[in-house]
Symmetry: C2
Subunit: 242 residues, 2 copies
DNA sequence: CGTGCCCTTGATGCAAGTCAAGTTCCGTGG
DNA sequence: CCACGGAACTTGACTTGCATCAAGGGCACG
């Protein structure tokens, strides 16, 4: 079943809650359409009613909000296996925008089917709740990052988080990974300008904390980077006991 | 039943999901102990296992995290009627600290009892999920606030949010309300220093956007304040259709 | 072989931080 | 009822991290 489009979602949900074969099967049996979307596609806009639940099969997505002055804040990054619309399961209006970051393949599941599934399987309802709670935990850590760390620390923290999350989904092979974001997007995620992101990246590079080849970033000394970032992965709740 | 300690929680849960008399009754029947706590009491610490679910009956609480450098970021404010530990219902380790902001009365409910209640009543499970999702939505708006607004805007936004939330719980009587925080705590919530919070408060005051008498703040021109804050209450999901 | 996005770098400005010294407000005990 | 002590608030002088403005430079793609 490793090639089923919802495999990574199941993997993620099982990371926190024990599911039996029947429950796994019920998830795989969810009605869904696969849709390939180009980078930058809006999947949901603030104010819209969420009617379908998109799951990232491949590619990346982000959540963002825009202020009256037209400035953007990215409030979340999503990686393969994550459900983009669990955040709205019991709400009737979207409070933020969801957009693909890269070319992406989505599994589109009717929201009602997710509701029904959760109602039939308490363990799945629990796994969904856990999924939502972990996103909330990540949001809290981002607040700390944006509110209380320097540009260099914020950047290091983002890199550590991305590494951990990709690794947990089995998406890291070598030493580093591709961070598929422009420096402007990184700035929007960290509450900085692209110019300052650029200077901060180069500073980390000169310190030998990261190396870059295009957008592929590697970490010669991950321990030191974590220390700079004040990174503690507890908030990601990667282990079932967390 | 207006005087039942869990009345405000029921009110809050009913704000989003229709509950019938039996479900309401089941919530009121939750086993609980009432405990009065002084200001500043830690209710849960990062890394601890959450075993009880505290509900604020009176008084205020906050969630915060502390960086390696000892700087604090408040990531959430909680008002009467809010459950402090729904955030951890299906997690095994707390990822942040919870502390009372003022003297407070808590209803302490065993976590297991909440679990059982949700398992028996899908509508209540749904209401809990909604409660968690709304907190996540508030967290996203705070990221925007901290990351992309000026000190003056951040402060105005916090004041508007607090006004709306108190009002939704029926806790506002006159023109203004008491904001029971020191300027240092406000700074910790907004990613600012207390000195700068002070200057920003006085700037709002001089502009005629707020008036103060001790910690009671009033808003002579709430529309203008909202406009300054770029405040749109959609993210609070106060109406059932949201 | 342009043309348009990114990335890079320099010069300059400003919002917010830091440091430090009062001042006001209150609770408490004499 | 008043004096004292401590926490919170206020204000000024100075510093700094990041923003802004502006001008290249590289490289992918049609």
């Amino acid at each position: 079943m490793a090639s089923h489009p919802l495999h990574l979602l199941v993997r993620k949900l099982e990371g926190g809650v024990q599911l039996d074969a029947e429950q796994r099967q019920a998830i795989y049996a969810l009605p869904h359409m696969i849709r390939a979307t180009p980078a930058g596609t809006y999947l949901l806009r603030e104010g819209d009613p969420p009617t379908i639940c998109a799951v990232l099969v491949t590619g990346y997505a982000l959540r963002h909000k825009i202020t009256r002055h037209g400035v953007r804040q990215i409030v979340s990054l999503q990686i393969p296996g994550e459900a983009l619309d669990f955040q709205h399961l019991s709400l009737h209006t979207a409070d933020h925008n969801i957009q693909t970051l890269t070319q992406a393949d989505l599994a589109l599941v009717p929201m009602q089917a997710v509701h029904d599934l959760a109602a039939r399987h308490p363990a799945i309802a629990d796994a969904i709740l856990r999924h939502v709670q972990i996103e909330a935990s990540i949001a809290r850590e981002w607040m700390v990052n944006i509110g209380r760390r320097t540009a260099r620390e914020r950047l290091a923290h983002l890199l550590c988080e991305f590494a951990c999350r990709l690794d947990a989904q089995g998406l890291v092979n070598g030493e580093g990974y591709e961070l598929p974001m422009t420096q402007e997007q990184i700035g929007d995620a960290l509450g900085l300008t692209s110019v300052h992101v650029n200077r901060s990246i180069r500073a980390l590079e000169e310190e030998g904390l990261i190396t870059r080849a295009r957008r592929v970033i590697s970490f010669p000394d991950i321990q030191r980077l974590r220390s700079v970032a004040d990174f503690n992965d507890l908030y990601l709740h990667l282990r079932r006991q967390d």
